[in-house]
């Protein structure tokens, strides 16, 4: 399945901070085909470092999508039945307008003059894209982690446009621990002398800071058990300690590799802006309770969490489920057993696939 990237341009996007971003580009990809009733569209929402290339083989890069194990013919998001859309988030660096985009007013990249954005802003832009594609109502919105936050935001902000929401390994608000890890990443980037207050475009990027940020991120995406299984205390290409500060352990090598790889595909300023959007995320702000915050939603919900996910622990999903239940929303929930930590929703997808496929089929049937 070869997929091509498209871009849609919008004249302006009002933001929560009060600014208006103009113009705004959105990079997106689609798989499958929209039926004549336009009732089979599913919006996939990517996590922090993801992009629009969720499934299939990219026409541009030849690489498989980040959720290719979930999306495709006969898979959980069956592209023989459903029309699947995924767009790069606002503030991203993979085709959608973000801090690395050129500000038409100055002819230079926005850098830190880019307005601070929120999850609701990202969703507002996605809504414009969906409207532009002529889809009145989405069969489902689904994503893991930050994608799950967007799914919740969709369900609350556009209740009549979402038949089903599938937030996976997500939360209704970022916790102190989640904010803390994001702040470590941001500080690593901003402490890099190459960052230059964000004005590094045209010169070397703050590669060391961004790599350290990614290393911390990767630790939080795994679990104690998965790291023990994957690396243990194994040494990297040596029998004994080197008694220096080169790589001794496999886990060091892995983290350094991941950090370096990340620099090649991700913009440091996007890291700052998107993590800030996640940290600002609190659906309950201005509401007396989680239940009141989620009450406008009309979607069926499938909520999934993972046993070894300590970054977005099950209690956060359960809080969401309890709140939905207390207002008698239609909600299904299960914690899946997995050792892969927060990454489970990306890598340990067998059970998740069965759940999503059954839930989508039932939703589609109810709508028909």
């Amino acid at each position: 399945m070869i997929v091509e990237s498209s871009t849609a341009r919008f004249d302006g996007l009002p933001l929560d901070c009060g600014a208006n971003l103009s113009p705004v580009d959105v990079a997106y990809e689609t798989c499958g085909s929209l039926n004549s009733a336009r009732s089979n569209a599913i919006l996939i929402l990517h996590a922090f470092s993801g992009d629009a290339h969720a499934a299939g083989i990219s026409h541009e890069t030849g690489k498989a999508g980040w959720w290719d194990n979930m999306i495709g013919p006969g898979k959980a998001f069956d592209t023989n039945r459903y029309f699947v859309i995924c767009s790069n988030v606002l503030g991203g660096c993979r085709g959608t307008t973000g801090p690395s985009s050129v500000n038409p007013a100055t002819g230079c990249p926005y850098a830190m003059s880019f307005p601070v954005i929120t999850i609701a802003d990202m969703v507002r832009l996605q809504k414009m894209l969906i409207d532009g594609l002529g889809i009145r109502r989405l069969l489902a919105v689904c994503g893991g982690s930050m994608g799950g936050m967007q799914a919740l935001q969709w369900a609350v902000d556009y209740p009549d446009q979402v038949a089903a929401a599938i937030p996976i390994a997500a939360t209704v608000r970022h916790s102190a621990q989640q904010i803390a890890f994001n702040e470590v990443g941001r500080q690593a980037i901003m402490a890099d002398p190459d960052w230059h207050d964000g004005n590094y475009y045209g010169g070397p990027p703050p590669a060391r800071g961004l790599a350290v940020a990614r290393m911390v991120g990767h630790i939080t995406y795994m679990s104690d058990e998965s790291m023990r299984e994957k690396f243990g205390r194994r040494l990297r290409g040596k029998e004994n300690f080197g008694f220096d500060f080169d790589v001794d352990f496999e886990v060091e090598s892995y983290l350094r590799y991941r950090g370096t790889q990340f620099v090649n595909r991700f913009d440091a300023n996007s890291y700052l802006y998107i993590t800030k959007a996640m940290d600002y995320f609190d659906l309950t702000a201005g509401h007396p309770s989680v239940a009141a915050a989620l009450d406008p939603a009309r979607a069926r919900f499938l909520v999934i969490s993972f046993s070894s996910d300590w970054l977005y622990p099950s209690y956060q999903s359960q809080e969401m489920v309890r709140a939905l239940r207390s207002r008698n929303h239609d909600v299904a929930y299960v914690q899946l057993e997995s050792n892969y930590g927060h990454d489970s929703f990306l890598v340990d997808v067998a059970e998740q696939s069965t759940l999503v496929a059954g839930f989508l089929a039932a939703t589609f049937e109810k709508l028909a």
Binding site: A332, Y333, A361, A362, T363
Partner: protein
């Protein structure tokens, strides 16, 4: 498959392999809201949705069972029964079903009261500990009874609160509950005489007249 009207024939066919499901399937009115506690893999809710246009929710503690229920399109969430009930507002369900699970709950009276708080009616099915085989088993063996319905060794049994038909009816009186319908089963046969001795399974439809239905 449809549930036969149980009052017309002493023979109760199986629904999804269970006679108590056949009775529950008959009791539940069409197009109602139903909460099934301990719903297993959601077979009953799926049947009620398909055959009676019921809007159902299920609660189940076992993760693998919840997975299979969700995969068949039923809205089930993984939760302890008591905790699940506590979250619901008053009187939002037409029926709350507890099938073959009351004897497994830690606080059965609390569960029953909660069922009749969140639902206008409760359907409770349970194995009758007063059945003559249970009594005989205990009398003869001198050990904890083991029968077709109570097959477990005492240390493996999930059943922690044994009750009989009499016990439940006495509780209904003590709690001022109205027993709207009662069904007694032995295998696939309906029991009409001395149910406390002859019924293996009892199914009660109860409501709380004070709840102002």
């Amino acid at each position: 498959m449809t549930a036969q009207p149980a009052h017309k024939t002493p023979f109760v066919p199986e629904l999804l392999g269970r006679s108590d499901y056949a009775i529950i399937g008959e009791i539940v009115d069409p197009a109602t809201q139903v909460l099934d506690l301990g719903c297993g893999e959601g077979e009953l809710l799926e049947w009620l949705a398909a055959n009676k246009n019921v809007d159902g929710r299920g609660v189940e503690i076992s993760g693998p069972r919840v997975q299979r229920a969700i995969a068949r399109g039923v809205s089930v969430f993984q939760c302890d029964i008591e905790e699940a009930l506590a979250d619901y507002p008053d009187a939002i369900f037409d029926y709350v079903i507890l099938s073959q699970t009351l004897q497994e709950t830690r606080r059965p009276l609390h569960v029953l009261r909660e069922m009749l708080r969140v639902g206008r009616r409760a359907i409770v099915a349970f194995p009758n500990f007063g059945h003559w085989r249970v009594r005989l088993s205990m009398l003869v063996s001198g050990g904890a009874p083991r029968t077709r319905l109570f097959p477990y060794l005492w240390y493996e049994s999930p059943n922690i609160h044994f009750l009989t038909v009499h016990d439940f009816e006495n509780l209904a009186v003590a709690e001022n509950l109205t027993i709207e319908r009662r069904y007694f089963l032995a295998g696939h046969r309906k029991v009409t005489l001395v149910p406390n001795l002859l019924a293996e399974v009892a199914v009660f439809l109860v409501s709380n007249p004070r709840a102002g239905n």
